[in-house]
Amino acid sequence: MERNQPMSEMQPETQSDELSTLLREFRDACPDGEPSINFTPAVWRGIAARRKSGAILRRWAEVCLVATAALALLLTLVVIPRFQNPQTETNAFVDNYVDVLRAADPVNEVSLLPGTETAVEPVRELE
C-alpha cells in the first residue's frame, strides 16, 4: 500500500489488519504494571475488613432473629389465648353499658332493656 494513499481508498482488510496491529501495539504500550509493596497486605486488610463488617451484620441478623422468635412465643403463649378466652378478661372490656348498669343496681332492674324480656309481665286482656 502506498504510504500517502488517502484513508477513504484503503482496503477494509488493510484497515482491519492495521487496527489489529494498533491494538497489539497498545498491549505493548501498556505493559503489566509491577504491584506496589503494599498491594498484598492491602488485599488482606480488605478481606479482614469485609469479614468484620460481615460479622457485625451476622450479629444483627441473629439479634433480630432472637427478637422475632421471642415475640412469636409471646404472641403464642400470652396474647392469643387471651383473645380466645374473653371470660378471663375484666368486665370493663367485655361487658356493655347495660350489663354494667344491671350489675350496679340489680334491684331496680329496668325491664324493658334488651335482654330482660322475661322480667316483663304479659299484657292481660281487658275483662
Binding site: 477494509p12 491494538l23 492491602a42 488485599v43
Partner: protein
C-alpha cells in the same frame, strides 16, 4: 494457568497461604488488565485489590479449578464496570488536560531512543483510548479482552456466560464501529507511526 489446580482447591477450601500464592501469581496480570481497561493509573491498585477481595469471598462458588481464570476475569470485568460506574457519577477532573500534560511531558523529554519510544507509546495509548471511546463501555471491555488481552472466544464465553455466536456478533459490531473511527483522517498520523516505528531523534 499460572498456578496448579491443587493450589486453587486449597485456596477454595480456606487455606489462606494458598490464597496468598494465588495473589502473588495473578496480581501482575490482573493489574495489567485493569490498567488497560481503566485510564487512571492511580486507581488501578484499588480496583485490583477489590478483585482479590471478591475472589476470596466467592471462591467457594467456583465449580472446578479449570474455570478459575475465566472466573477471575469475570470478577475483574465486574470490578472494572463498578469502578467506571462510580466514575460516571463523579465529575471528570481534567482528564483531557492530564493526558495532554503527559504527552507534553513525554515530548519535552530530551532526545534519545528510549524517549522517542515512550512518545510513540503515549501516542498509541491516546489513539486507542480515543478510538475505543466511540463504542459503549461493555463493548470496549469485550473488545479489549479479545484483541488486547488475547482471550479466546471459549474463554470469553465462560467470562460473560453467553453463547459464542452472540459474542461474535457483539465483537463484530464493536470492531466495525472502531474501524469506522479508525478510517477517519485524525488517525492517519497514528498509522504512519505504526508503519514507521519509533521516530529517531535527531543527532546533535
Amino acid at each position: 494457568m499460572l498456578v496448579d489446580f491443587e493450589l486453587i482447591e486449597k485456596a477454595k477450601n480456606g487455606d489462606d497461604a494458598a490464597f496468598g500464592q494465588v495473589i502473588q501469581a495473578y496480581r501482575k496480570r490482573i493489574l495489567g488488565t485493569i490498567g488497560r481497561l481503566l485510564r487512571k493509573p492511580e486507581d488501578v491498585e484499588d480496583v485490583g485489590q477489590e478483585v482479590f477481595v471478591r475472589l476470596y469471598y466467592s471462591l467457594d462458588q467456583l465449580r472446578t479449578p479449570e474455570v478459575f481464570e475465566p472466573w477471575l476475569y469475570r470478577l475483574t470485568v465486574n470490578a472494572a464496570y463498578d469502578y467506571l460506574r462510580r466514575q460516571k457519577r463523579r465529575p471528570e477532573h481534567r482528564m483531557s488536560d492530564l493526558s495532554e500534560q503527559q504527552v507534553m511531558m513525554a515530548d519535552a523529554m530530551a532526545g534519545g531512543k528510549a524517549q522517542a519510544e515512550e512518545v510513540r507509546r503515549t501516542k498509541i495509548r491516546e489513539t486507542v483510548h480515543g478510538l475505543l471511546d466511540k463504542i459503549s463501555e461493555e463493548d470496549r471491555i469485550l473488545l479489549m479482552l479479545k484483541e488486547v488481552e488475547g482471550l479466546s472466544l471459549k474463554e470469553l464465553e465462560a467470562v460473560y456466560n453467553i453463547k459464542e455466536n452472540a459474542l461474535k456478533v457483539r465483537l463484530f459490531r464493536a470492531r466495525q464501529r472502531v474501524l469506522k473511527a479508525f478510517g477517519r483522517e485524525e488517525t492517519a498520523a497514528m498509522k504512519t507511526v505504526l508503519r514507521d516505528g519509533p521516530e529517531q531523534p535527531e543527532e546533535s
